[in-house]
Amino acid sequence: MKQILIISGKGGTGKTVVTASFAVLAKNKVMVDADVDAANLYLLLDPEIKSTNAYIGSKSAFIDEEKCIGCGKCEQICRFDAISPVRDKTPKVSDSCLEQPISNGVYYIDKFACEGCGACRVVCPKDAVTLNEEETGKWFVSDTKYGPFVHAKLGIAQENSGKLVSVIREKAKVLAIEKNADYIIIDGPPGIGCPVIASLNGIDMAIVVTEPSLSGIHDMQRVIGVAQHFGVDTKVIINKYDINLENTNAIKEICKDNKVEVLGQLPFSDKVPQAIVKGVPIIEFCNDQIAQDIINVWEQIK
């Protein structure tokens, strides 16, 4: 079983469009959307959700104001600037950030800043701090006409997306073993941070979808750096190659220097937004050059 991850560095280069087409082309596989904080693949795969699961992603500290004596030890120890005395409350800190109503002489925790480490609980002399587990998202196992699909929705303004990526990838692996799948195909997140690193773990091939803009090139180089840092075999697809041929050539040179194979180049196509609006993978929407080129890429990697 081969795990293929589609990433990009820069957002909006066409990861999901390519991944959805692979969903059509790959025969026996499990699909995953690892872009858990802005998931889009479900919009093209039309999933029927079979099971919904709670994701307990992190803990959040809570100060019992009855017990708090306002000593401030928690504020001193907190490395995430998440604890402040109530008197510092400025109008900028919205009430939604407060774990508790305002009263004088106590400390409060900004739940967006709190990373749930519990250091405050260790130093509190009055045992006023508790750590509560929080449901910070949901993940789903779905059926699609292309096969099983594991995806997720991180809660609003929640953290620890890397861990959620690990959770759904683990589930996908179990499903893939059960049905003896040939591939797990994963739509990855943009960037190079924790969800990308969690996506790269144990991957057989990472495909970087880039575009011939200076931003696209810059970001591609960084994400190739991360993939190679973790020892993952990396290949490149150049999307919208005809927007700037000079930059397309520059990408090919960079790939050559880094010993990264360029699998193919896809033309700019106004059919892409049309296919997205229709909610279908591009290769089911039209028979244009771009569809042919994606099929050719798949033939090389399958």
């Binding site: 280069t13 939604s96 990373e115 609003i156 943009p190 690193i197 991360v226 997205i276």
Partner: protein, 287 residues
Amino acid sequence: MIITVASGKGGTGKTLVSTSLALSLKTPVQFLDCDVEEPNAHIFLKTEIKEREKVYLPKPIVEDSKCIGCGKCSEICQYNAIAVVKGKVLIFYELCHSCGACSLVCPEKAIFEEDSEKGILEGGYSGNIEFWKGTLTVGEAAPTPLIKALKKKIDNKKTVIIDSSPGTSCPMVEAVNNSDFTILVTEPTPFGLNDLILAVEVVKKLKLPVGVIINRFDIGDDKVELYCKENKIPILMRIPFDREIAVLYSKGIPITQEKKEYIKKFQDAFDVINMLQQKYNNKAIKS
């Protein structure tokens, strides 16, 4: 005034908007590129870097000679970054959040902390624009400490423009939090709308005023327009799909340089932002 440009979906034109806005304003501008995983604004705001500051975070190290293998560090760690195997402590640094709880609970004071480099801040001037960017070290997982360090540079006397990373999780929340106004850049497709709704929910939760810029507004469908109308979210600007803009962008040329009509458009959008922000403040004072 702090204006953050964010998006939900990547590649909708955040950097195009943030840099064009910075280049159009007559007031003194400070620009912070808080997309530390993939900073791109410097491509458009050519800057001579004058200052460099490395960002460090503490990293726990166990002194084997003092460690008694009690496992308290592993118990306290909420990130599963510490395991004790056969009395020996193993630390998985990719999972460590540098919170310091392990060294705090160690009864033998066997854990000390060493600075570990997470990235770099670079600053300089691009014309009159004070420019700062953060760059996360390749292989490091956590962008938020760099974003926090960048935001300490904020000069409230200037108009501060922040370019955020895409998405709706920690780095985006960190960039947007405590702004005076958030611009969400989107595109009129189901992808753009899906991620716009998520981003709006984040901004609403942070109780910040928000406006939308629709890029390539003439492709796709009208659902983003309808969503904004139904939810009373002002649309600050509509940018058409224009191959010329795509080509300029690909070369790293700001559109305000080659298509001067955009200077006025961004100035007008800024006036609207000021007005909306005033209105929002007045309302906040009243309530």
